[in-house]
């Protein structure tokens, strides 16, 4: 849910930009609409008020006009000449048609005026000089009420009558009747401020009482200039508001765009460009930002990236150096075993996708061990250096040489025919043979063996077999004095296996892969300083006809290059033993590892399952001296790691190989095991005995445990004790057995 929420919030800048614009526009429209609505309401209210005022004005005007009319009629009734006419109407027409109209009593809105005698009859029935229809009746019975009437032309007029009384006795003398042009009278007698005079319309209807007249008058209020001006002002204001706000909004948007959005997009693009091309230098955007902080940010970003790039370059260079160092053999300065493993893995992976012709070539210096023993390590090392250099120079540029063992070099060659490969091998061999090794003091002729295995476009499974096949081929070459270049073929494999029976080979190979038929035999290693002991686990394989002899097993393992596989099986078997608690308490187990297994990247993880058992048992990992010396740096790293975890490391067969004391100080080991030849040498001449004892003493003094192997009798045991051995191993104390046979009681007691 939280992720969703975050995703919703995280939007590109134009989303917020458009949202801001939309919301702003909506709010603005709402405000302006509200203004407009209020303005309209105000206008309507004012119009309504004006209309109300106009109505009141009309009502007042109507009353005023009617009152005025009554007053005028009263004045008329008091006029001498009206009395004159009522007394003697002989000249009524003249009075009516001329005199009256000239008099001050006449009003222009009098449509008609007549005098009636006390009986209600007109003083004269009709004016002979007038063709107009009379608006006033010829006779009235009683004093009629004022009423609104309409002429034939629908012109409105109000008929009003007023009685006239005798002056002396107030007897009724007659009536005066008036047809009043009500509209004209209203307009003449009144001033209108709210009523639009031109809008007055009297609705034609039957006679009405004057009280009801008001309801039959249509009118309009005058256009209130203030109202209209106000409305114009409001409209103008709203318009100006819209324009102003639009301008302001536009400016804000432009400013926001210029200040924030555009720089953000530019910076974002810049960052994308940096991300897409982290290794190339990207100049900062040319656009100059208005915001100082963003401008600084841009510069900082550029500088940061620049510095980062420089750091990266330095790091890359250092990595390259480290990589090179990790993959360069310090002695020969050609690629080492690790580089080879990586290169070989890459070949395998690529071959899976693009099968191409691949060949594997192994070089080995014949009798190198003897050479080393004879001329010393310095000359041996020089021979290795020269060999590497010569081989490298003779190889094609694209095919580097790898030092994968002490005097063993490997080459991977691709895109070449078998013939070309052979030519390359011959070229290398010629160069090696031609090198004047005498210059470094070697008197004997140096010979080299080359094993080749190649694969045109076969299956991947076979590709992984190439190193082993080249190894077999090289083994064959070593055996030959003349054919020092051997190319692997199936025949060679048969030859290699000829020494042991096929049954044995099959059983060993099968056991190496499956772990079946593997038996561990245990030989005790007894402490000379306290009554403790532990066992060395020794590999045995159960054959169809009894146990297969160790030398047979290792011959097959070595020839078939199955060291790693068989070591893994032994480790698993030892783990099983410890887990089952078959081992006596306070004892331990020592496991042998081949050089190839030591160089496996997963070595530490192979021993992880032992960690919980280390509190109960001592677990020793035995490594041969040659392996250690060849890969001293890598071995130190890996073995120290194991030591930190609680494992003990033993240097096996000390004295069988180089036995170089020079290396001892840097050996990542806890225990030194003297080879049986060293133990036996204790019984030889005194000089040798002294050297060995001095060596043993030196080892003890350096803090190592010293195990002497091959103790077969009490004399040897005594000599071992005298030499300072901390532990002893040999038939005297116990032969290798499938069970945990305690050390020989007598010998143990002696020990």
């Amino acid at each position: 849910m939280k992720t969703k929420y975050t995703l919703k919030l995280t939007q590109p800048s134009h989303f917020y930009f458009v949202s801001f614009l939309t919301i702003g526009t909506l709010l603005l429209s709402l405000m302006i609409w509200s203004f407009y609505k209020e303005g309209k309401a105000l206008q309507a209210s004012m119009l309504q008020q004006t209309h109300k005022e106009a109505q009141q004005e009309l009502f007042k005007a109507l009353n005023h006009t009617l009152n005025t009319t009554y007053e005028q009629l009263q004045t008329l009734a008091d006029w001498d000449e009206v009395h004159q006419q009522l007394h003697n109407p002989s000249y009524y027409f003249f009075w009516h048609d001329e005199r009256f109209k000239e008099s001050a009593y006449f009003q222009p809105y009098y449509q008609e005026i007549e005098l009636y005698n006390r009986k209600g009859s007109l003083l004269a029935p009709a004016s002979p000089q007038s063709d107009l229809d009379s608006l006033l009746p010829e006779h009235i019975d009683t004093l009629p009420k004022a009423s609104l009437k309409f002429s034939r032309n629908d012109l409105p007029y109000v008929v009003v009558f007023h009685p006239i009384y005798q002056r002396d006795n107030q007897e009724l003398l007659g009536y005066v009747g008036l047809a009043l042009d009500i509209k004209q009278a209203l307009l003449k007698q009144n001033q209108f401020f709210y009523l639009d005079k031109s809008s007055l319309i009297f609705e034609p209807s039957p006679s009405l009482s004057t009280e009801a007249v008001i309801d039959h008058i249509q009118f309009k209020a005058v256009d209130n200039p203030v109202n209209f001006y106000l409305w114009e002002l409001i409209q103008k204001f709203i318009l100006e508001l819209i324009v102003t706000l639009a301008l302001v909004a536009g400016l804000v948007m432009l400013l926001l765009n210029k200040l924030m959005r555009s720089p953000l997009i530019t910076l974002s693009n810049y960052l994308h460009a940096l991300k897409a091309n982290p290794n190339s230098e990207q100049r900062p955007p040319a656009e100059t930002f208005w915001l100082k902080e963003l401008e600084e940010f841009k510069e900082t970003l550029f500088e940061f990236h620049h510095n980062l790039q420089q750091t990266q370059t330095q790091l890359d260079q250092q990595n390259l150096i480290v990589w090179e160092q990790a993959r360069r053999d310090p002695l020969t300065n050609i690629y080492n075993r690790r580089a080879f493993d990586e290169a070989w893995n890459e070949v395998i992976q690529n071959y899976h996708k693009h099968p191409i012709a691949t060949a594997f070539m192994l070089f080995d210096c014949d009798f190198f061990k003897a050479l080393n023993d004879t001329y010393g390590h310095e000359i041996g090392d020089e021979v290795i250096r020269i060999s590497a250099k010569v081989i490298q120079q003779a190889l094609p540029l694209e095919s580097p040489a790898y030092r994968i063992g002490g005097d063993e070099f490997a080459v991977i060659i691709q895109h070449r025919t078998e013939k070309e490969i052979l030519e390359i091998a011959e070229k290398c061999l010629v160069a090696l043979n031609d090198y004047p090794f005498q210059s470094i003091g070697i008197k004997e002729k140096m010979t080299f063996s080359i094993g080749i295995s190649s694969l045109a476009t076969q299956k991947e499974d076979f590709l992984t077999n190439l190193p082993r096949q080249a190894d077999i081929a090289m083994y064959k070459a070593k055996q030959s004095h003349t054919s020092k270049i051997q190319t692997y073929n199936l025949m060679l494999e048969t030859e290699a296996s000829a020494l042991v029976s096929n049954k044995v080979i099959n059983r060993v190979v099968s056991s190496a892969h499956t772990g079946k038929h593997i038996q561990l035999h245990f030989q005790p290693i007894v402490s000379l300083s306290n009554p403790t002991f532990y066992y060395e686990a020794l590999l045995r394989i159960e054959g169809e006809e009894g146990l297969i002899q160790p030398y047979e097993i290792f011959k097959v393992i070595e020839r078939r290059r199955l060291e790693v596989e068989i070591d893994q099986q032994v480790i698993l078997a030892a783990l099983e033993v410890l887990k089952k608690g078959q081992l006596p308490e306070r004892s331990g187990l020592s496991i042998n590892l081949s050089g190839k297994t030591l160089l496996q990247p997963n070595l530490v993880s192979l021993f992880e399952p032992f960690l919980p058992l280390l509190q109960r048992y001592k677990v020793v990992i035995e490594i041969t001296e040659n392996v250690l010396i060849d890969h001293i740096e890598y071995a130190q790293k890996v073995l120290n790691k194991l030591r930190q975890q609680g494992f003990k490391i033993a240097l096996d067969d000390f004295g069988s190989g180089y036995s170089s004391i020079r290396y001892l100080a840097s050996m990542p080991v806890d225990i030194i095991k003297f080879d049986m030849s060293m133990s036996r040498a204790l019984g030889s001449d005194s000089k040798t005995q002294q050297i060995i004892m001095a060596t043993a003493d030196m080892i003890i003094q350096a803090g190592f445990d010293l195990v002497m192997e091959g103790i077969e009798d009490s004399h040897m045991l005594e000599q071992a004790r005298l030499a300072g051995a901390t532990h002893v191993q040999g038939y005297l104390l116990g032969k290798p057995a499938p069970d945990f046979t305690p050390p020989s009681l007598q010998a143990h007691e002696e020990a």
Binding site: W79, H83, H87, Y91, F94, E98, R99, S103, R167, D168
Partner: protein, 294 residues
């Protein structure tokens, strides 16, 4: 000196004003039906001292007894203890109260007026007044002369005419055509009113021919003749600044002077003795009455 006179006059006016207010309180409106007409006439009557004569005061052309010159004269005499009767000639309007306009329909005749004067004199006599003085203003003076031509009532002891002129004369604007028209209309029995020129009513005197013609009798010669024929003493009070003199000529005063009437010319007074000349008029009237009725 003139200042002292003015001051004294002011005091006199105040006194007269107060006296008139007190006297007016006793004046009453009386009506009298004119014999021979179905009309009533109205007059203002003030009963004065029993031993003093009654004065009938007649208003001028188309006005009423409320005309200020008439009121002024009546007040002076009432103040002097004289009974006064100020009738308003009906001019054929029942109980007429208002002045009549030129363009009102005039149906009244000189004889109607004379009859009304006669009726009012009879009314006074009926009230027991045996000494009657006739006072007229303007055309009222002429009508009194016309009455005196017809009636020589022994009760009438004295006649005072103020602003006495005449009605008919070319110098007054009388149109011979009007007279001819009216004369012809009567002959043809066309009695409808018509607009004539008559004194200040220039072409808008709306009258029946009979009415119009009846007053034409009062011309310059007739007035002078009747003054000469009077059997009772008479006084004639004229204003020297009367604008009528511009029409009739200043020799009119001389001609009056040549009649038996006692001509008194008030210097500076206009036709109506307006303003301060009102008092001169009053003084002269009281003086005349005082001389005749001691």
């Amino acid at each position: 000196m003139s200042q002292q006179i003015n001051f004294l006059r002011t005091l006199q006016r105040i006194a007269v004003l107060l006296a008139s207010l007190s006297v007016s309180a006793f004046a009453q409106v009386v009506t009298h039906t004119i014999p021979g007409h179905d009309l009533k006439a109205e007059a203002e009557f003030f009963k004065g001292e029993a031993n003093k004569p009654a004065v009938l005061i007649l208003h001028g052309f188309l006005t009423t007894n409320q005309f200020h010159t008439v009121k002024s004269m009546a007040n002076a005499m009432q103040e002097g203890g004289y009974t006064t009767l100020s009738p308003t000639l009906t001019l054929n309007i029942n109980l007429r109260k208002q002045s009549v306009k030129c363009n009102s329909i005039h149906t009244h005749t000189l004889q109607d007026d004379i009859n009304e004067i006669e009726a009012w004199i009879a009314w006074l006599k009926q009230k027991g007044y045996q000494d009657i003085v006739l006072v007229g203003h303007s055309s009222g003076s002429q009508e009194l002369l016309a009455y005196l031509e017809q009636q020589q009532d022994p009760a009438i002891k004295l006649a005072i005419f103020t602003s006495l002129f005449y009605l008919n004369g070319p110098e007054l604007g009388t149109q011979s055509s009007d007279i001819a028209y009216a004369t012809q209309a009567i002959k043809e029995n066309k009695l409808a009113p018509h607009k004539y020129s008559f004194l200040f009513c220039k072409k808008d005197y709306y009258a029946t021919p009979e009415s119009f013609l009846s007053y034409q009798k009062l011309d310059r010669a007739y007035i002078l003749k009747q003054l000469s024929n009077l059997t009772i003493p008479s006084y004639t009070l004229m204003g020297s600044a009367d604008k009528r003199h511009l029409d009739v000529g200043l020799d009119w005063l001389d001609e009056l002077k040549n009649t038996p009437t006692h001509l008194i010319v008030v210097e500076g007074a206009n036709h109506f003795f307006s303003s301060e000349y009102e008092f001169d008029l009053q003084e002269q009237l009281i003086k005349i009455l005082g001389q005749h009725f001691k």
